[in-house]
Amino acid sequence: MKTSSSRRSALVKLGGLLAGVLALPVARQVKAAVQQVLVTTPAPNGYDPTQHKWLMCVDANKCIGCGLCAESCKRENGVPEGPYFRTWIERYVIPKPAPGSGQTRGEVQVDSPDGGIHGFPELSLPKDQIEFSFFVPKLCNLCANPPCVQVCPVGATFRAPDGAVLIDPKYCIGCAFCVQACPYGSRFLNPVTKTAEKCTLCYHRITRGLKPACVEICPAEARLFGDMNHLPADDPLQKFYEKNRVEVLKPHLGTEPRVLYAGLDKEVR
């Protein structure tokens, strides 16, 4: 009796394990199918996110701070007026050190008036007191480990297989947890829709073969964008990361951004 009972329980356990292993891929398929049905994205029908891998690169050396990218982004995506930005430009001014201070540079000054949309005012420091200055365009960092996705209580924000981190506005409950969790200040609560919002890489454009509005309009080619799965050999993106030593913002947080920068400084966060 004892033997048959233990045998039966062993068989049951084994069967359960087998069923579990078999159920795993089925469950994944079901989950993927359900996600495809439920998730709302601005992509056209027929767009297959598994066939693309988007990458954004920013060459801070080239940015002239004209603000066209930030303005075109607002217009393209209907971003409300006021302190709401999917992308913006920061200006870093590094003054010369005070004589005898023993420092290599003075205290950095950073500004981004109205996100840089209208350009930047004249510098308050005389030119001869400035060591150097530069502009840094900022946007969603398309993290491979996005903290915003991790904390969303309803799964309204998610990372698409093509690398874009998106928000389903019909699902978002507006708790702002993701805004708090984003280390880059890239998210905001839209005051009109009361849902979270951020750069989508102009998902409605890139899924139709176009480039994001900010990339399209940049006169200095400081922003480069492409699909790593279908990148021509002579693409500027290819040249960019072949030529430059690239870095990401706040690497110590382990978010693994897919927005790569060249020409940053230690002061940029």
Partner: protein, 411 residues
């Protein structure tokens, strides 16, 4: 319409010092007074429950007079615990999605389940087992609607035999044992909501859930002290000094542990002095000076520690009236101090930019969605509910039924 609205928004921008990310220059903090009230209420629930379990699980006889009061206090506050979250949402009508399609890596989603478990499986069930015998008796002696209510609350189980009552007590004890980790989980998760945000150096801290649990225990016991003394004063009864002294003792030791852990946190931050330490110093010295140094540390921790500590040493020499006063004020000060702690955590994390280059000053709104008024109303609501619960279940007119003599089934 849109233009008009955004103009208003632009006019109400906060004062900014240094550089803050453009998206952070919003007129009001994202998480305002409602999110301060939310962990405060949840903490009071967890603390009041732990206080009650001292009687149930650890058999602290001296605390028996406040057992039922603390359980009802926990229930009153638990019923309101999700209200601040709900009012804060941009789309409260979608709140059910947290339970329907939860995203299980999110502390906020899991909180929904922990809350439901704690309310349904622990607190309500334990209260039912505690009160069932009384419900049966009260249903017989109370006329009218109130009697019908007691009858309904028996859920049809009117067996008052010794074995049945013994089972009630056994179940109550089991639930109480399950309830302690549940209460820790409930409030630990609230702490994790903040502790899990690595983007914010003020919040992202492994000690955060532990600090939240400890401060919850402290605030819960303080609330029970406060409510018990207030109720006896209201009913012109005499305070059971044995019980009050025991509460004061537990309050003191809980406060010591809490203060030590929070002190450790400050020491560690100071010693590690990681990125963002400079901005934290600004917070402590300027932005949170009154709520942290005065409210949380001096009034909410040191002063009660001094009063309660001296009572532990000199209990016999302090006259009863003075002891009552000292314990009452300690409780009230701790309640204030823990509220300040919640404020310092929640608001402190939003007074500086994630660029770590600047700080923001907000003008807190009064009547808006996240204004003072809504928070104040939500804070008053548990008190109103507790008043009703006390009138219904701790009424002086209704005798508490002594359980039948110990039988073989009594634990």
């Amino acid at each position: 319409m849109l233009g008009e609205m955004t103009n208003i928004v632009v006019e109400a921008l906060p004062q900014v010092e240094g550089y803050v990310f453009p998206n952070e220059t919003i007129p009001h903090p994202l998480w305002s007074t409602l999110i301060v009230v939310y962990p405060y209420i949840t903490g009071l629930v967890a603390g009041a429950f732990i206080m009650a379990s001292l009687v149930r699980v650890f058999k602290v006889k001296a605390l028996e007079p406040v057992y039922r009061l603390s359980m009802l206090t926990a229930l009153a506050f638990l019923l309101c615990a999700t209200l601040p979250l709900l009012c804060h949402l941009g789309h409260p009508e979608r709140c059910y999605e947290i339970m329907m399609t939860p995203h299980l890596t999110s502390p906020m989603a899991v909180f929904g389940f922990v809350y439901a478990w704690y309310l349904m499986a622990v607190l309500l069930l334990e209260l039912w087992f505690d009160f069932r015998l009384d419900f049966v008796h009260w249903a017989k002696i109370t006329p009218g609607l109130q009697g019908t209510l007691y009858r309904a609350l028996t859920l049809g189980v009117t067996d008052v035999s010794a074995s049945s009552v013994g089972l009630d007590m056994k179940m109550g004890r089991i639930l109480s044992i399950v309830g302690i980790p549940s209460a820790f989980l409930l409030h630990g998760y609230v702490g994790f909501i903040f502790g899990s945000i690595k983007a914010n150096p003020w919040w992202g801290n492994v000690l955060m859930p532990i600090m939240f649990i400890l401060s919850a225990i402290v605030s819960g016991i303080a609330l029970c002290v406060f409510v018990y003394q207030f109720l006896t004063w209201l009913r012109r009864q005499t305070v059971d000094m044995n019980c009050l002294d025991a509460m004061a003792m537990f309050l003191f030791y809980a406060l010591v542990v809490d203060a030590v852990v929070e002190g450790l946190d400050v020491l560690h931050r100071g010693f590690a002095a990681e990125e963002g330490f400079a901005v934290m110093q600004t917070m402590i010295r300027e932005k949170l000076f009154y709520t942290l140094n005065v409210g949380q540390i001096t009034l909410g921790t040191l002063l009660p520690l001094l009063m309660l500590g001296s009572l532990q040493l000199l209990r016999r020499r302090v006259p009863e009236a003075a002891r009552r006063t000292m314990i009452f004020f300690s409780g009230a000060l701790i309640l204030l101090g823990v509220l300040c702690m919640r404020w310092n955590v929640v608001m402190g994390g939003q007074f500086f930019s994630k660029s770590l280059r600047g700080v923001m000053s907000y003008k807190m709104e009064f009547a808006g969605q996240e204004g003072w008024l809504v928070s104040a109303i939500i804070m008053c609501l548990p008190v109103v509910i507790l008043t009703i619960l006390v009138k219904l279940f701790l009424s002086e007119r209704l005798p508490v039924t002594e359980p039948p003599l110990p039988g073989h089934s009594k634990p």
